[in-house]
Symmetry: C2
Subunit: 335 residues, 2 copies
């Protein structure tokens, strides 16, 4: 029961394989009657064209396959992005290979190599901290590349990010505006670009208000819910504890919430990857970004490259929304 080929269909329809090719690919210049006979044979045999063989021959059309490489597909932020990319691809008759890197440069290379070996027309990648020189060759060979969420160092390609730094600055400025001067920063791995940007925004806001940074109030490398919770507990034991917190991603925000109201309430603004604050108690003031827009924009850039756009690489910065819901306005009793 092997898969039938064009040759099989040709024999069944009494024509040459070339004619079958024309019919199956919807080309003009076949007599309607012949086309009908071929169509019947196709249905009878359950024939389906082998698109790998097709794209091997047709170098100008490509494989209609793109690759999406994210940090972690199980993370709802990237899952939304992936769905958005998939929809754009589907609209254009493309399929999507997807892979997670876990932020490990080694795995990133493996995944991308597996994708380029299959002749993807383009790649949308959330780059790891590693170098990306290995992309030079596929790019020279015609593979288009777009970065999303973070830029790749030393890689001149279209890049879509959000205004992490400005948005973090705005968030901290909000806290400053409510009279807070002891504002803690709780962040994830500092070598992740988005985290470094958000930290920079935190510093910007403090500097603009003439408040010196207090290293005791800064905690990086918080990788989990409990770590964030514990970091907050430690901050509260300081002689001069914070009265407000800026948390730089969802996981940390959630971790911190546990201890937020005990013993004394703290003000909080979080950097939000998802429409998360809506469900939480207390109503959270957050910086809100839109993973669907990130993915959609990246996909549109990629497909215009695939369609032949060879203009200089663009850097698109999407705007976040600052959503005030109350948690940034709280004051401690003694504050």
């Amino acid at each position: 029961m092997k898969r039938p080929t064009m040759k099989d269909v040709a024999r069944a329809a009494g024509v040459s394989p070339m004619t079958v090719s024309r019919v199956v690919s919807g080309e003009a210049g076949v007599a309607p009657e012949t086309a009908a006979r071929v169509g019947q044979a196709v249905r009878k045999l359950g024939y389906q064209r082998n698109d790998n063989a097709r794209s091997l021959r047709q170098k100008n059309l490509g494989t209609s396959t793109i690759g999406l490489v994210v940090d972690d597909l199980a993370n709802p932020f990237y899952a939304l992005m992936a769905r958005s990319v998939e929809d754009e691809a589907h609209r254009r008759g493309h399929v999507v290979l997807v892979g997670s890197t876990n932020d490990e440069p080694q795995r990133e290379r493996e995944v991308i190599a597996a994708f380029t070996a299959r002749q993807v027309d383009g790649l949308i990648i959330v780059p790891t901290i590693g170098g990306h020189g290995f992309l030079k060759r596929p790019m020279a060979g015609g593979t288009q590349v777009v970065c999303v969420d973070r830029p790749a160092r030393g890689l001149a390609v279209d890049t879509v990010t959000v205004d992490n730094r400005a948005a973090a600055g705005r968030a901290v400025t909000h806290l400053l505006g409510h009279g807070h001067t002891r504002i803690a920063y709780l962040g994830d791995r500092f070598d992740i670009w988005t985290q470094a940007e958000r930290y920079a925004g935190y510093l910007d806001a403090l500097a603009a208000h003439g408040i010196p940074e207090d290293p005791a109030l800064v905690r990086h490398e918080l990788r989990s819910h409990p770590q964030a919770r514990d970091a907050l507990a430690v901050l509260r034991t300081l002689p001069d504890p914070p009265t407000a917190l800026f948390t730089s991603n969802d996981l940390i925000t959630l971790g911190v919430l546990d201890g937020l109201d005990h013993p004394a309430p703290l003000a909080l603004v979080g950097f939000d990857d998802l429409p998360l604050g809506e469900r939480l108690t207390p109503p959270l003031t957050v910086v809100s970004q839109d993973p669907v827009a990130l993915g959609g924009t990246a996909a549109n850039l990629l497909f215009s490259r695939i369609a032949g756009d060879r203009s200089a690489p663009r850097s698109v910065v999407l705007l976040t929304r600052f959503v005030v819901r109350g948690s940034g306005a709280m004051r401690t009793a003694g504050g």
Copy 2:
């Protein structure tokens, strides 16, 4: 700057393409010195093997590509499943094409056709309500298929599901055990297999306790947060309102939570797709399933089929956990 081929490498290394093939594919029987020369040429030219061309020739090895077809990749439940499948695939040197159906049979066919046209070795699918006869031909041609989360009607393939019916029965029995007799069912589209199963479990439990079904307490087709919330509001206006609720997925559980304590508290047990209840107030008693285990099991089944297993189709039913946290024990003041 076209992508170099084996011929280019062969010329650069002063050998035949066949020798390059052997070196690149790590086959034995090449003189170490020759292999080194070839390796140098490969690096110098930045050569990468075209795996599409390779698998066109090597029919026994396949494409090392599988397809994953889910309802909606943006849904965290399927995102976790996808990540799990991807990890299993990665371990085995395979890549994953991914597509969402939106539960539309039409789109399911398109996605699967696009995947089989690219000669995937296997498919893991969350089937829509539509028929799946179109899979017969690719399967006869050697494409392996595994269903996950739901079975596909009339398709004899490995299938991985959870014990939806029994678990729902257990949940409702829990409520009955706390003295409730007016238990409402709030569910999603009834034509989704999992929902029908959970509803059947609800009925099972009532019947086992000799309680007749009251159609006024049953609401299907709740597709959104607000719809669920509103459905609850309507239920509360009944002359003989429910004292307890069984909600058959996360979305509905969240929608219902809004109105749970007003005007009077209701008991609640939810069917949970994610570790969700932990973060909610009140602490939710839930049936908990494991999307990672679902995906991992489906992937393992698929890869053993791809490896040559031709035994009769298996039906694997994974067990859910019943997590008692309190919300199922509540009693109304007047109840």
